[in-house]
């Protein structure tokens, strides 16, 4: 009956007083309380989301000319923000899909919130290319449908069109994956609800879930197949985003290293964002027993891995530019490091390559303040990475007379800050009304951890039971098993 478990395997949930009801209480509890600080944050970020809407409205009314773009630099903050947000969205699917396939059970503490971040980040990301089209009311032209213009079809050879398919598929599949996992947890909230309205709302959200054996059987099959589909999907999405650049002929963009380099960067920035927000959430909602320091350490290991991959990619790019013997390529990269945007390159190198190296040291990996500060560094660094790639490659092009410098206008800045506002507003709503940890999944890993590890921990904490036992019926099992 028992699966083999290593003697050293520590339990994934801390606290000696835990049982199934306690797990439900701990996770559902925050949705049943009101937090004063929540309203303050909601008003602040809600106003920023308002700024987002205002600046986009301004853009639509007056046109793209209100942005800082010019004839030379015709992609700048908008596409930087797009790639940045898409990257942030990658951690959710990585955690829920790839770690599910690899049977990394620590994922259960963080997957729900990370998937939510994926969805909100993709919503933010999608706004940028759509509004960059200028005439947003014509945005449906990007879909291939029979029309009266010929019929003139979209260009199936274009990576920009592949992007349309990739992003919309990614959004849909992430949403389905996230929501199918939420249904059982909404049912848990419904069955605890005291008010009639609350019960009614959560019943609608739960789709009438009851948790029969057949439902769970199909649930597990669905999760596994969706995970299997999402894994190549998440890799394909950022690969295709990188094709937007890699298939062009601009020196600095035309690089075959882009797909793996972009994917690693996306995972890197995604995990950083998950850490930034989850460190706050676990503190405010008192979920330290579920999102433990071990979880943080595991994520930090992924950050140092992907950060180093990105670092190698930066250096490889420079080497290949020199090795190619191609003048324009060499100029593009020389210019990237020592040109007028040297400060952006330095910022990127410092935040993305240097700062994660602290994580080689275990005490720093397990230090929450270090993690929080470095996660913000990584977020900033990854924004600069996209800025460096996009703007420095364009600013000094083939013709010196057209060289230019990009300066953002207030609309550019407003849209960027506003998109953070939108993301945070959605995340705040999620944290307030949805279970931020997958309740059913956490319950299913509740008993993991070897008896030895549990006993050792219990001794350390001065308890005799070892925790997690506490069931009156446990005796029956012992009789049957031994």
């Amino acid at each position: 009956m028992h699966a083999y478990e290593s003697e050293f395997r520590e339990p994934l949930i801390n606290g000696l007083d835990k049982n199934y009801t306690k797990i439900t209480d701990d996770i559902v509890g925050p949705t049943e309380k009101t937090y004063k600080g929540w309203w303050l944050l909601f008003i602040i970020f809600g106003s920023l989301a308002g700024l987002f809407v205002f600046c986009l409205g301004w853009t639509v009314y007056y046109g793209i000319g209100t942005w800082g773009l010019n004839k030379t630099v015709d992609w700048a903050w908008d596409i930087t923000n797009f790639v940045w947000w898409i990257g942030i969205g990658h951690a959710g699917t990585l955690i829920s899909a790839i770690l599910l396939l690899f049977r990394q059970r620590f994922r259960t503490g963080i997957n729900r919130a990370a998937e939510a971040m994926t969805i909100f980040a993709v919503i933010c990301a999608g706004m940028f290319p759509v509004f960059h089209m200028g005439r947003v009311w014509m945005a449906f032209f990007i879909f291939p449908y029979p029309n009266t213009r010929g019929p003139l079809w979209v260009n199936f050879n274009s990576p920009l069109l592949w992007d349309v398919f990739a992003i919309s598929t990614y959004f849909t599949v992430s949403l389905l994956f996230w929501y199918s996992g939420l249904m059982p947890d909404f049912a848990t909230i419904r069955d605890r609800a005291t008010g009639k309205t609350r019960k009614w709302i959560y019943n609608i959200l739960s789709f009438g879930w009851t948790g029969t054996a057949k439902q769970w059987q199909r649930f597990e099959s669905l999760s596994l197949v969706l995970a299997g589909l999402s894994t190549p999907l998440v890799l394909s999405v950022h690969t295709i985003v990188s094709f937007d650049f890699a298939t062009s002929v601009i020196p600095g963009w035309h690089t075959t290293i882009f797909p793996p380099y972009f994917v690693a960067g996306a995972i890197f920035s995604g995990f950083a964002m998950v850490e930034t927000l989850m460190l706050i959430v676990r503190k405010v909602f008192k979920l330290e027993d579920y999102i433990t320091v071990n979880h943080i350490e595991s994520m930090n290991k992924i950050i140092v891995l992907t950060g180093s991959i990105v670092g190698i990619a930066y250096i490889t790019e420079l080497f290949i530019a020199w090795y190619s013997g191609y003048l324009y390529e060499q100029f593009a990269f020389y210019n990237r490091v020592f040109g007028k945007y040297w400060w952006a390159y330095f910022c990127m190198m410092f935040c993305n390559v240097v700062s994660p190296q602290f994580y080689w040291f275990k005490p720093l990996r397990r230090n929450l303040w270090v993690t929080f500060i470095l996660s913000i560094f990584v977020n900033i660094g990854m924004w600069f990475e996209r800025f460096v790639i996009i703007v420095t490659s364009l600013a000094d092009d083939f013709l010196p007379s057209s060289w230019s410098y990009f300066t953002p206008t207030w609309v550019d800045i407003g849209i960027f800050i506003g998109s953070i506002g939108l993301f945070m507003t959605l995340f705040l709503l999620f944290a307030r009304f949805f279970p931020v940890i997958a309740i059913a999944e956490v319950k299913s890993i509740f008993r993991t951890g070897s008896e030895t590890a549990k006993r050792e921990r219990a001794l350390k904490e001065g308890s005799q039971t070892g925790g997690f036992v506490g069931n009156t019926t446990f005796g029956i099992l012992d009789k049957d098993d031994k």
């Binding site: 009956m1 049982n19 199934y20 009801t21 291939p144 019929p151 003139l152 079809w153 199936f156 050879n157 592949w162 398919f165 990739a166 919309s168 598929t169 849909t172 599949v173 389905l176 994956f177 199918s180 249904m183 059982p184 049912a187 848990t188 419904r190 069955d191 605890r192 019943n203 609608i204 959200l205 789709f207 009438g208 879930w209 009851t210 948790g211 029969t212 054996a213 439902q215 769970w216 059987q217 199909r218 649930f219 597990e220 099959s221 669905l222 596994l224 969706l226 589909l229 190549p232 394909s236 309740i439 059913a440 319950k443 299913s444 069931n471 009156t472 446990f474 029956i476 099992l477 049957d480």
Partner: protein
């Protein structure tokens, strides 16, 4: 549709492994289990209940194959037949550049199709009001439901006694109104 039964015996357990043993014993005794409710997916439950494997993944494969076929055939038709354009002398049927969209549509169709099938088969849709046997089955209780319509008192007693002797923490009768 057959008339829905309204009278049930509900056995509740608080430990999933005891629960699995109980299912095996009860089925061995020839008791028919009407429904099994658990707060989370219990490993080995469907084997204990003798359920056959779900065919949901087969449905997923078929939906995915539909997506692949649709993507490839539409792109091929558009670029070779409906509106062939000369892109600098490049081929009109560039298979490699069809790969990304074909892949995305395969994933999209498989996922959407599977989730819809899942909802239909599991009777899940917004606003559906299910019969809730016990509210604690989404929290910390593992429940077995036995249909006792048309069963004699001695049969009912037998079920109760079997549940109790197999570690149930609570055994009770659950009756629904006609409209519930």
């Amino acid at each position: 549709m057959a008339k829905q039964s309204n009278n049930f015996i509900l056995g509740l357990w608080d430990h999933e492994e005891v629960f699995l043993h109980a299912i095996e014993h009860l089925r061995h005794e020839g008791q028919e289990i009407h429904e099994t409710l658990t707060p989370f997916p219990v490993h080995g439950l469907e084997q204990a209940l003798g359920y056959r494997d779900t065919r949901l993944h087969t449905a997923g494969f078929l939906f995915g194959a539909t997506g692949t076929t649709l993507a490839l055939s539409v792109m091929s038709w558009v670029m070779t037949t409906n509106y062939p354009i000369n892109f600098g002398g490049k081929p009109n049927w560039p298979l490699p550049s069809f790969i990304p969209i074909t892949f995305e549509l395969t994933v999209l169709f498989a996922s959407v199709g599977m989730v819809l099938t899942y909802c239909v088969r599991n009777k899940l849709f917004p606003g559906y009001v299910p019969r809730i046997f016990d509210k604690r089955t989404t929290d910390d209780r593992f429940a077995l439901v036995f249909d006792i319509d048309g069963k004699s008192d001695s049969d009912v007693e037998k079920i109760k006694q079997l549940c109790n002797s197999n570690g149930a923490v609570e055994v009770k009768k659950r009756t629904f109104d006609e409209n519930e």
